[in-house]
Symmetry: C2
Subunit: 344 residues, 2 copies
């Protein structure tokens, strides 16, 4: 009965399933790539300061306090930047602005599975180009001729980066748009942002959920050519980012070194985690993110995921043919990683 109100493409969808978010806090939570360190005290102070009588007023629709700081930080202009309610919203805005029925969206897989959901909502055509087992960028992306091509750089769940020169070559070879989803880039060596000076068909996305320890505040940034940003603005809800989230993002950019120090700490722990997992016969790539993908090729790791959960450690298991033999493990504190290794 209900389905008669719903578009067939949506009725047929399963919907994106996020990682478990138990509300009771009993777990060592290494399943959704949250930062194990708290946000900057200056961020917390800024959110508390924003929590006053002014909450009765709408926020700045453009979140210019954030755009201006991001422009300075990333050496771009205000008009290159759009602030989103998390980078998930920005992905959604891009596909709503660019993709209609049968329009093609291309990405190497496995990757962030939300892309599938968002293309399905638009009735777009998904072309998945499989990654090889070493997760180097596969060929075939140009030939697939996407109206939009998405690269998750570094990729989830592999943790592997895409060399920037390969992104540039791809963008120059394509007539469509290239979206570089840099949710994890602060944990890696190189960003695609400099490409924006040379190319008008590249959009770069960032989030404050990982490196800035602000998953709870929902803040993302899109960077691109001003005419592109102006088109995305038409699709954006007027007041998409709250007053407290604007305050948090602005303060986080003002205390940038808080983020980079936490990132350095996480990268050190990541090195230790990779070494220890390899010593336990897992196959692990050299992640450039705040998680690692631990594999036992050909062996389902679902039982291990369940056992770890019973022991109070939550990691991410993807029940797909491509990933059934892997666990994605967020890099926690050293103590959390010790607990994980003990549980293993």
């Amino acid at each position: 009965m209900t389905s008669k109100f719903i578009r067939p493409n949506v009725a047929a969808m399963a919907g994106y399933v996020p990682g478990e978010q138990p509300q009771d806090r009993r777990y060592i939570k290494l399943n959704t790539n949250e930062n194990p360190y708290p946000p900057s005290p200056r961020v917390i102070e800024a959110v508390r300061a924003a929590a006053g009588d002014d909450l009765r007023l709408y926020p700045d629709p453009m979140a210019n306090a954030v755009r201006d700081r991001a422009a300075q930080r990333y050496d771009l202009a205000r008009d290159n930047i759009l602030v989103g309610n998390g980078s998930d919203e920005l992905l959604s805005l891009i596909l709503r602005a660019c993709i209609g029925p049968q329009d093609r969206v291309v990405y190497p897989c496995p990757t962030y599975s939300l892309y599938d959901t968002l293309v399905d909502i638009q009735e777009g055509e998904i072309v998945r180009v499989p990654y090889p087992s070493d997760f180097q960028l596969p060929s075939g992306l140009v030939e697939a001729r996407g109206r939009v091509t998405i690269l998750c750089h570094p990729n989830s769940p592999s943790g592997m980066p895409v060399p920037i020169e390969k992104i540039e070559t791809l963008a120059r070879s394509l007539e469509g748009l290239v979206v570089v989803d840099e949710a994890y880039v602060d944990f890696s060596a190189q960003s695609a942002l400099p490409l924006l000076r040379k190319l008008d068909n590249v959009l770069v996305l960032r989030t404050f959920s990982k490196s800035f320890s602000l998953a709870g505040m929902r803040i993302g940034l899109a960077f691109g050519a001003p005419p592109l940003i102006a088109e995305l603005l038409k699709v954006k809800d007027s007041y998409n980012v709250s007053r407290t989230s604007i305050a948090a993002a602005a303060a986080a950019l003002d205390d940038y070194s808080w983020m980079t120090e936490n990132v350095a700490r996480i990268c050190r722990t990541r090195g230790r985690l990779i070494k220890e997992l390899r010593a336990r016969a897992f196959s692990v790539l050299d992640s450039q993110t705040n998680f690692v993908l631990a594999r036992r090729p050909g062996v389902s790791l679902e039982p291990l995921y369940r056992q770890l959960k019973e022991r109070g450690v939550l990691v991410r298991y993807f029940a797909t043919p491509e990933l059934f033999d892997a666990l994605r493990i967020s890099v926690g504190t050293d103590a959390e990683i010790d607990a994980l290794l003990a549980a293993l």
Copy 2:
């Protein structure tokens, strides 16, 4: 050049233009229907309490703390409720879930012009049924056979309610969905929520931006049959409402009388404002919202809007053939209304 990346329907759009949000605070701001009274101190306290180390963690994707309180308050079940990043996001989710190219969306006009933008993004067909000058529900809504029919109740910018029995008759006569946008309903006598017990094709939307004094926090609620809510969930971003907004909404529902007392105060001021405007030869309907529509039939009020702005009072002027002879004035505090009347 840019337009080649963008869908033609989006490239052709002007985009919704929200009311002015000057960031310098020099104005008596009666243009975007914000509540002149601050949110509950318990809300502010809850937001500050939520602003801690936990901001590093994702929020509850379902915002169940809010759903459970809303279920209790409105005598419904958790599964009847979806929490949005403002009711604007909920409108967008509904149209994304239900409207594809050429699908028809019907609403009486003039009304909230964001509906136009959201239908255009979906490449839907808009059927506007004109309101008569007394803003009673026009005939022709059933005959227009919308896949979705939207009623803003009470309507903006007229301030006029739709009798609930008329909404029921309409919903029973239509095969499609009826969305009742109750952004302003707390300032009126009757809600369409009881219809949810009888009809499976009605969705009711609420916002915390007006009566709850929380425009800055972006919180909206959708109420409907559980199978409908489940479909909307598929289209929603997983983490669409931040931790601080969840905390604010939950605390606002816990301190419900704070809202109703402010609403009573605003309704008293509204009565005085209507009387004073009529004494100044404006034609004013009996608003059931926190704003009034003041008309001088046939006379453009753009000059008056500009003069008021020069004198530090911001009201809303719509440069359309239907509304050029009207100003929409939010009901402020008594002192703000005195200042407006003095400026007039």
